[in-house]
Amino acid sequence: MLCNECGKNEANVHVTHIINGKKTESHLCEECAKKNQAILNSSFSMENLFSAMLNNAFNNKTALPAKGCPNCGMTYDTFRSTGKFGCSHCIDSFKTRVMPVIKSIQGYDRHTGKIPKRAGGSYRVQMDIEKMKNDLRNAVECEKYELAAELRDKIHELENKLKGDE
């Protein structure tokens, strides 16, 4: 008997599936059986889920760069099948397609964690100012005026620094 899948090699692996009481049999060669086994054993990971969700986003017809990512040349199709960006610019190149999926998987679309000192640049300073403004409000509410004055001066200092950088 020949393999049901490839129709070329001799079938020597015989598999019986019973799904909802319905019995099906398949006869496979060793090679095709291995492939099937790999599919069955592949773990249900976030990466797989991500690829699957990109594939399902048929309604999203937003434009894509014609020649793939301008920086590294990766096409959207390659990204969709691997689930991996080719460079740090790909996310911008495919933004309109990727962001909705990131948001639905991660639940958020904005980073609120660590900001690197150099790469973060003025953004890090802006975030520091935001945080201090928050602390200042709390200090005033708790009538800690000395702390509030200190924070106010620091905020001024940082805001001036930001203006200087611009």
Binding site: E47, F50, M74, F85, Q106, H111, G113, K114, R118
Partner: protein
């Protein structure tokens, strides 16, 4: 019973990429080498004791043994060509290079030490960033090769030993429950979520939208709940099933100290039992912490690594039984 009996290790991993290079999936051989050089230089400026190892210089047995010891990831093992890692002398920090991302900083700690691991990872990250231009976006955070790591690029995980919950068939239900809280659960050894030796790993699922400290705190809170559940189940077993357990533990001990050949699966199950027995004070002749080390030591590639060559499964099972007998008698 200590919390450290239940939480065996903690781990924090940060994914980072260099702005001016294509990501590993897209890199040439020359590019992988210059990325390795840049990262080595950046670390060397602060600490010359890190040791650089190229994946191409390792045998299969050495590579798999590093995976079994949780020093490198299985994904790095596949990067024979461009992969490398820097390891701190105490083996607590491993900087994997050209895995899925250019940089994966991984720190390991004993017991529930996620905060310490985060501090250490954060520190190594600061050191690297002094000389390396990271790919960072003010809205999306650290840009990673896979969008599921974007933002903080952080995966914080703990390894738990949950024998009481497992033998009372509560672990599946509990772990399914916590997976609903945005936390990923898997078995440490064995395929998929099936666990061998009642060892489980839980980690944060999402990496975007919350600061690192909050993500870590969530894992700690959930872990504390699981610890309480495991402890109360142990107390319940002690009260209601003491005689059966005592018999199970001594049988396990008897097998382990007498077997002449043993598979990794069987050994892991029995070692898990005597670890529980010692922590419950029923089999006082063994110490739980040493048992976990033994669990790692008897993994297939670690046995081969000691022999410095690939040995047949049959020989390995004999060797494994020998190591267990020797170690249990030594620990006695």
């Amino acid at each position: 019973m200590e919390n450290n009996d239940i939480v065996i290790t903690s781990r924090v991993r940060l994914a980072r990429n260099l702005k001016n290079y294509k990501f590993p999936i897209n890199m040439t051989q020359e590019e992988t080498i210059s990325v390795i050089n840049e990262i080595e230089d950046a670390i060397n400026k602060h600490d010359k004791n890190y040791k650089l190892t190229y994946m191409k210089d390792l045998s299969d047995v050495q590579t798999n043994s590093l995976i079994e010891n949780h020093i490198i990831s299985p994904a790095l093992a596949k990067k024979r060509d461009g992969g490398a890692f820097l390891l701190s002398p105490d083996q607590k920090v491993s900087v994997m290079i050209n895995e899925e991302d250019h940089i994966r900083i991984q720190t390991l700690g004993d017991g529930l030490s996620l905060k310490e691991c985060w501090d250490l990872s954060n520190n190594v990250d600061d050191i690297l960033e002094e000389s390396i231009d990271y790919a960072f976006d003010s809205e999306l955070g650290y840009i990673t090769s896979c969008p599921t790591n974007i933002g903080t690029g952080m995966r914080a995980s703990v390894m738990l030993h949950l024998p009481a919950l497992s033998i009372t068939n509560q672990s599946d239900k509990l772990l399914y429950g916590i997976s609903q809280l945005g936390v990923a659960v898997r078995g440490v050894y064995g395929e998929g979520t099936k666990s061998i030796g009642h060892l489980y790993q839980i980690s944060n699922q999402g990496t975007l939208g919350a600061p690192e400290e909050i993500l870590i705190d969530k894992i700690i809170q959930i872990t504390m709940q699981i610890i309480e559940k495991e402890k109360s189940t142990r107390e319940h077993l002690m009260k209601n099933n003491h005689d059966e357990l005592e018999d199970d533990f001594y049988r396990a001990y008897g097998l382990l100290t007498n077997a002449r050949k043993i598979s990794a699966d069987e050994a892991m199950k029995l070692l898990s039992l005597i670890k529980l027995g010692s922590e419950m004070g029923i089999t006082p002749m063994v110490k739980g912490k040493n048992i976990y080390e033994l669990m790692i030591e008897i993994q297939p590639n670690n046995i081969s690594a000691v022999e410095e060559t690939e040995i047949s499964p049959k020989e390995r099972d004999k060797k494994r039984a020998e190591i267990i007998r020797r170690e249990l008698l030594r620990l006695n």
